[in-house]
């Protein structure tokens, strides 16, 4: 299974495995990663799965949809590398992905 590392705002790292086809958000919930709430169940409708994706992964994680862009407009601490991780689907090409969890989720 491909591996993803979640890094909390305080630097703590959580390496986990997420099966192909699941979203990174679902992977976080299944592994009880603190700071990812996923209130809307992955409908890109709440902004509680906000992460930062390092530059080298940006191509492979795909682009923001319009809805994702709209939701991120209202998130706290939005940056150029912000993503809603329910919109990133796991596949072998994402093996080794590193995401930083945003400070607070609404």
């Amino acid at each position: 299974m491909p591996r993803v590392t979640f890094i909390e705002p305080n630097g703590t790292e959580h390496p986990v495995e997420i099966a192909n086809g699941y979203s990174v958000m679902e992977g976080a919930l299944n592994n009880s990663i603190r700071g990812i709430d996923g209130d809307c169940g992955g409908n890109c409708a709440c902004g509680t799965c906000h992460v930062y994706v390092a530059a080298e992964w940006r191509e492979r994680t795909g682009r923001q949809s319009e809805m994702e862009h709209d939701m991120l407009e209202f998130a706290e601490g939005v940056r150029e590398d912000s993503r809603l991780c329910c919109q990133i689907e796991m596949s072998d090409t994402l093996d080794g992905l590193v995401v930083h969890i945003a400070d607070s989720q609404h």
Partner: protein, 423 residues
């Protein structure tokens, strides 16, 4: 003993069930506030979810409308802001249209792009750093309220606790003159009165006159703050924000009322509801006493179970298909959060109040999509403080009579709930 009254309510709910299942389905009108004041709407929604999840009512109290009652369909409408508009001039966000000659523009009832700009102007009030400041203030004030409650003597929880706490919070957000703070409660209540109801407490003209008084009062505050240095309260934030400082008076009033009602009724009724649900479910109350850490997951469960706003409404901007039904451009579409939150296909054991659910935040009470509640974390924080402070003081607060509910198909809440703290 404390739950004896629940039996009476349960019997009424069962009686409503036979009515709900025997009447012609096309005659069901969920905008009828009578079903909310006596808490008998449940079986009607249950039937709609099963038999007509996207349901057309031709003769609704406020005109023809679609009822959307399943969790998934509600999510589909709430997240499709390109097709389902919130715009005030098309009717706005409640089943009842805004009145053409008294339109109150407010960003909850705006579409993109204006909505986005105004929402961003006020959302810093609930940014994490500001929430941390507010938490200290809110706790101090809550402690004072609790320390002054009578022991072994019946009193109205709604008035003494729920209203007082939320009004104080609101006064803090606005930096509103402290001694006048009950005006906020009053304006909030006046705003949500359905003056078209046969037994309405006031006329349309009286209602408008009072709201204009509210505007006049707040204009005084605005004038003082626009000339002062920018501060962290909501009025100063609006007065100094480039996208809001040129608002017309009615738009200022609209946005004020959004914040007053949004921040007031909803949290107030969650504070009352929580105590009611624990009384109705003594096993859950025991779990909480045994493990106060459950407050964390109980708070979102209270908000789900209460669903303080029963619905939000949209207007279709184009023909579309939803749940197999053909919705026409201009149609009124009502998302019944109160029903979606009891949808068994999405939430396990949805009719039960369970304070230690694994995914308690999976509910519709705050809406979803670009209009999702700005104040959700603030509301949760208040409820958390309330329950932490209660558990520090008393193992039990008894509800001693059935609560008196609000007669509205929009604000789902309580007028009065008599309780006693055993001493």
């Amino acid at each position: 003993m404390a739950t004896a009254f629940k039996q009476i309510e349960d019997e009424a709910i069962e009686m409503a069930r036979s009515v709900a299942y025997s009447m012609p389905i096309e005659d069901i009108d969920m905008t009828d506030s009578a079903r909310f004041v006596d808490n008998t709407h449940w079986a009607f929604f249950e039937r709609l979810r099963k038999e007509a999840p996207v349901h057309y009512c031709a003769n609704g109290r406020f005109g023809p409308f679609w009822s959307v009652t399943r969790y998934k369909d509600i999510m589909a409408v709430d997240t499709n802001h390109a097709v389902f508009s919130s715009e005030a001039h098309l009717g706005g966000i409640t089943a009842k249209d805004q009145e053409d000659d008294f339109i109150l523009p407010m960003f909850i009832a705006m579409d993109q792009p204006k909505h986005d700009v105004q929402r961003k102007a006020v959302s810093p009030i609930v940014a994490p750093a500001n929430l941390a400041v507010l938490e200290v203030l809110i706790r101090e004030r809550a402690q004072k309220i609790f320390d002054n409650l009578p022991i072994n003597e019946p009193f109205d929880w709604v008035d003494r606790v729920s209203i007082e706490l939320t009004t104080q919070m609101l006064a803090t957000l606005f930096d509103f003159p402290w001694e006048d703070r009950r005006k906020l409660t009053y304006w909030s209540d006046v705003t949500t009165i359905d003056v078209s109801a046969p037994d309405a407490k006031m006329t349309r003209d009286e209602q408008r006159a009072i709201l204009i008084e509210c505007l006049t009062y707040f204009t005084g505050l605005w004038n003082a703050r626009v000339n002062a240095a920018p501060a962290g309260d909501l009025i100063s934030m609006m007065a100094h924000n480039p996208s809001m400082r040129d608002m017309q008076p009615m738009e200022y009033l609209g946005n004020l009322l959004l914040l007053i009602v949004g921040g007031n009724d909803t949290t107030r009724n969650s504070i009352t509801g929580g105590l009611l649900f624990l009384n109705e479910n003594p096993g859950e109350y025991q779990k909480l006493r045994d493990n106060p850490a459950l407050i964390e997951s109980m708070v979102p469960e209270i908000v789900r179970y209460q669903t303080p706003l029963a619905h939000m409404r949209r207007t279709a901007l184009q023909d579309t298909i939803l749940g197999g039904q053909h919705i026409k451009k201009g149609d009124r579409v009502v998302m019944w959060y109160v029903s979606g939150n009891r949808d068994e296909t999405e939430i396990e054991n949805a009719d039960a109040f369970i304070i230690d659910r694994a995914r308690p935040r999976q509910h519709l009470s705050f809406g979803f999509g670009i209009h999702r509640c700005v104040g959700n974390r603030l509301a949760e924080m208040q409820l958390k403080i309330v329950w932490e402070e209660i558990l520090k003081r008393w193992p039990m607060i008894e509800v001693i009579e059935p609560p008196v509910r609000v007669k509205s198909a929009f604000v789902k809440g309580y007028e009065r709930m008599m309780v006693r703290i055993p001493g």
